[in-house]
Structure formats: structure tokens, C-alpha cells
């Protein structure tokens, strides 16, 4: 029952979002692959549903695997309702130097703001806010500042494999 709870809930809220459920590496953690553009809605369910309440985003990691960018959200629950879960999505950029767009999860997990900033700088993933974002429950106005680590005027995205090749 527990295994499929998350998947059921996601599918109930966002039709057909879940692509696959796999083991993460060789550990027992499950990773759930979802459609890239439905990330925000899925994230909302994961956070707000009282049985799931995965409200702590530990890490946001981006990997480039054979031309596709795989984004992984490592989620935990501070209420102890669910063991940790990894949410994953993948996007394919048109060319090694062109950015891609993904919906943002800033309003759902504010602690992801610096992580998204880094993904934008290093991989060129632009996180978009949608008009329906309700920030009614955003208590602290954390700021998302522009590019930090890279010198201005740098073209391309350093952590991509084809950078400077």
C-alpha cells in the first residue's frame, strides 16, 4: 500500500505525470520519474498532501547523461510520514549552448532557491514561474539573486559536457 501511495496520489492529481518508478542506484530509495513540465503540480501534491507532506528538499542535482539533463529532487518529510523519495525529470536541450525551461518549485520548497540558481548558472535550466503561483503560504521572502559564481559575459554553461569543446 505504502509503495504505491505516492504514485496513486500523483496520478490522481496530475493525470499521467508519472513515467516510471525505479530504484535509486543500489539503495532502497525509490526514484519517481515524472514529466518535466508537470513538476510544479507534482511538487505541490507531494508537499501539501497530509499523508505525504514531503516538505524538505534536501538537494537538487542536475546530471547530463547522453545529451539529456536529468534533474533530481531529493525529498524528505519532517513530519516523518514518508521515507525519502527522489523526484526526477529529464529535459533535452536543443543544442549544447541553448537553455531549457522548467517550472520552478521555489514557491513550494523555498530552500530550493539557491539550488535552482546554481542549476541555472551551470546548466542553463531556466526555471519559470507561472501566473497561477500562489505565494500565499510563502512566509519569508527569500531573494533569488542573479548569476553569482560565473563572470559576466560568459557564454555557455560550464557543467555541460560539451562546454568549450
Amino acid at each position: 500500500m505504502d509503495k504505491n501511495l505516492i504514485v496513486t496520489k500523483i496520478n490522481k492529481a496530475v493525470q499521467g505525470a508519472v513515467l516510471e518508478v525505479r530504484r535509486f542506484g543500489r539503495s532502497d530509495t525509490r526514484s519517481i520519474w515524472v514529466e518535466a513540465q508537470s513538476i510544479q503540480k507534482v511538487a505541490k501534491i507531494l508537499r501539501t498532501d497530509p499523508e505525504l507532506s514531503l516538505d524538505w528538499l534536501e538537494n537538487l542535482s542536475v546530471v547530463e547523461l547522453s545529451d539529456a539533463l536529468v534533474i533530481s529532487y531529493f525529498l524528505q518529510s519532517t513530519q516523518g510520514t514518508q521515507p525519502e523519495v527522489i523526484l526526477r525529470a529529464s529535459v533535452v536541450p536543443d543544442s549544447p549552448t541553448s537553455p531549457v525551461k522548467l517550472p520552478t518549485i521555489q514557491t513550494i520548497w523555498p530552500m530550493g532557491i539557491p539550488m535552482e540558481r546554481e542549476a541555472r548558472e551551470m546548466f542553463g535550466i531556466q526555471f519559470e514561474t507561472s501566473p497561477q503561483d500562489d505565494d500565499a503560504d510563502v512566509e519569508f521572502d527569500f531573494e533569488s539573486s542573479p548569476s553569482l559564481c560565473l563572470p559576466s559575459g560568459l557564454s555557455g554553461f560550464p557543467l555541460r559536457k560539451k562546454f568549450n569543446k
Binding site: 543500489r26 547523461l65 519532517t78 539557491p114 519569508f140 527569500f142 539573486s145 559564481c149 560565473l150 557543467l159
Partner: protein
Amino acid sequence: MNLTQPESLKTDLTTWIIGPYHGSLPAPMRLSLSLDGEMISDCHVETGFLHRGLEKSCELHSWKAAVAYSDHLDPECAIFGELVLCLAVEQLSELEVPERAQSIRVILSELARISGHLSFMVRMAKAVGSETIIHYLLRDRERILDLFELLTGARFSLNFLRFGGVSADVTDGFIERVLEVCELIRIRMKEYNDLFTFNFGFLKRTAQVVPISKRLVLASGMTGPNARASGIELDVRKKFPYSGYSKLDFSVPVGRGDSGILGDVHDRFLIRLREITESMEILKQLLDVVPSGEYLNRKFKRDFVVPAGEAYARVESSRGLLGCHVVSDGGPTPSRVQFRTPTVANLMAIPQVVRGIRIEDLPVVLASLDLGIAEADR
């Protein structure tokens, strides 16, 4: 945003940009402050001055070189970076670590934790202007660095761990010396408490000053002693045990609001003092019985190949939860090494914490958050 003046008095906000180098900043970073008299009305944090491209460098060189890069993540407590990378790779390649190696790793981790907390106390003392205690703390931290040098040959960036264990066995006399240093620090803790921790002047600067609420901790993702001082019980060593921590008997100190308000600067200071004591407990338990055996899994040979796959490991560094996501494609170099560092959350929380305090409290607050900009910028 005038916090202090009545409506009839028209004043403007002053802008003051501190950084990248300033006496009150622990490392290169830039703070743009909007000041209303002596109160800070707004603050904007800019980092990135210490970006060295560690993650990209790991992709360009071999797996063994990645260990050397990872211990430059936080130069002060380098072992944690190495440890988290080694744990991730061992999880990935299903490499078992012999017990002796695990003990050595934990000994080094706890010594690094004590050393990191002593440096924290030095920064706090400098922020409030107490000069005498700084020298005492540094003198005692030297003893720990001497231990590192005895075992690994280096004081700060150890480059000592290998996938499947450590690179050398403990030398003769190392165990006794560690116990000596523990005893020395235990005696000196009393001295620090008499001289500094409960000093009237220090309490005036830190007690009930700038508390961090639980909600802010949870919203910004702060971990480590800063979060525990505000009452959140999260310690990776207890929640996701690694390297044999589950067999050790120790408690995790949580802030109690001894000086008035839960989560104020003094709480964050006291928590780290208590953590030093707990680390010494752990060291004593480990050194009582150091398991015999190999110090390195013999499968890790010159031509060791990390199989394809991925793994995520986490450790409790002296600043908080340090995580490492490793992806391998079976080749000679890593495909991706990504570090999740605790200071990033602290930096995001700074503008919230600093709003409405006086300028003179700023160095104290920044020191109390134990910022490691090197690991935030990577």
C-alpha cells in the same frame, strides 16, 4: 523602511557595501546593507568569490583525484568532504569498508569536528573583541592539527581516505596521543567556560541576540548546529547512520534556550561546546577498542573501476548536512560529482536574520552562523 524614527523626522537609508574582504566577514563575500541609523534595514548577500570549479574538475580527472578535490570543499574540516565522496562511491560500487578503516574514519571526523568548533569559537571571540581566548583556542587546536599531521602527513587538506578504507594504518602511539589531546581539551573546556562562555561582557553581546526561529530554519533548509540550537533535532549520525555510528553511544545536543531565548547567538555557541564534549565521548569509545584488521578493502587496487550507476551519501559535517550525489558511467573519470553543502542554506537565511539588528551585532551573527564560503561556492 524606517524602523526607528517617528514619521515627522525624514531620514534616508544609507547604503554600505561590505566586502569582499572585511574584518567582520569570515571569508570573501559581499553584503550590501541598507542602514537606517545603526539598524540594518535590508541586506543583500553576494557570494561566488571562492568559486573554483571543483565539481567540473572532478569530471575532468580520475576518480582518485576526486578525493583530493573533495577535501578542498571545506579546507578547515577537509575530512568531511572526502568522507562523503568515499561513502557515495562505496555505495555505488558496493565496496565494503573494513571495521578498522571505519573506526579510523570516525576518529578523524570527530577530531575534525572538534577542530572546526574551536575555529568557530575563535571567530566568535574575534567578533566580540576578546583577544585573550583566541590564543588559547588556537594553541589547543594546534594539538589536533599535530595529530592529523602525525597520521596523514598534512594538517588541513588530508587526502587520506580511499574508496574502501583509508590509505595508511594508524602509526604507533597515535591512539595514546589522541587520548592525551582529549584529556587536554576536557581540562581546557573548563578554562574556556570560566574565561569566555559565561563572561558578563560576552553574554551581553550574545545572549538573547538575534534568535533564529524554527520556521526560518525549516523554510531555509538550515541543518547542523545552527538548526539544532533552534530546537530542530536533526543529526545525520543518528537519522541516517554511517561508518559505524549506530554502534556508538552518544547524544545529540539540542538548544535549550539557556540564556533566555531559544536559538539566540549564545545558544549556537553553547551547542557547539556541547558537541565538542560529545565528540570526545565518541573518541573515547572508539579508542577503547580499535578493531583489528585491514585498513583498506583489497579490492581497491590500481585498476579499480567504478561501475556504472549512481549513489547519494550524506554525512554530518561540523557545519551541517553534507551530501554527495555521484554518477558514474563506468569510465575512468566521474560523470558527475555534486555536493550539497550546508552553508548555502545559511547564506540564504542571512537577510532574514539580519533585518532589524544593529551593525555592531553583524559580525557576531555572521560568526555565529559558522559560514564556510568555500563550500558554498565550490
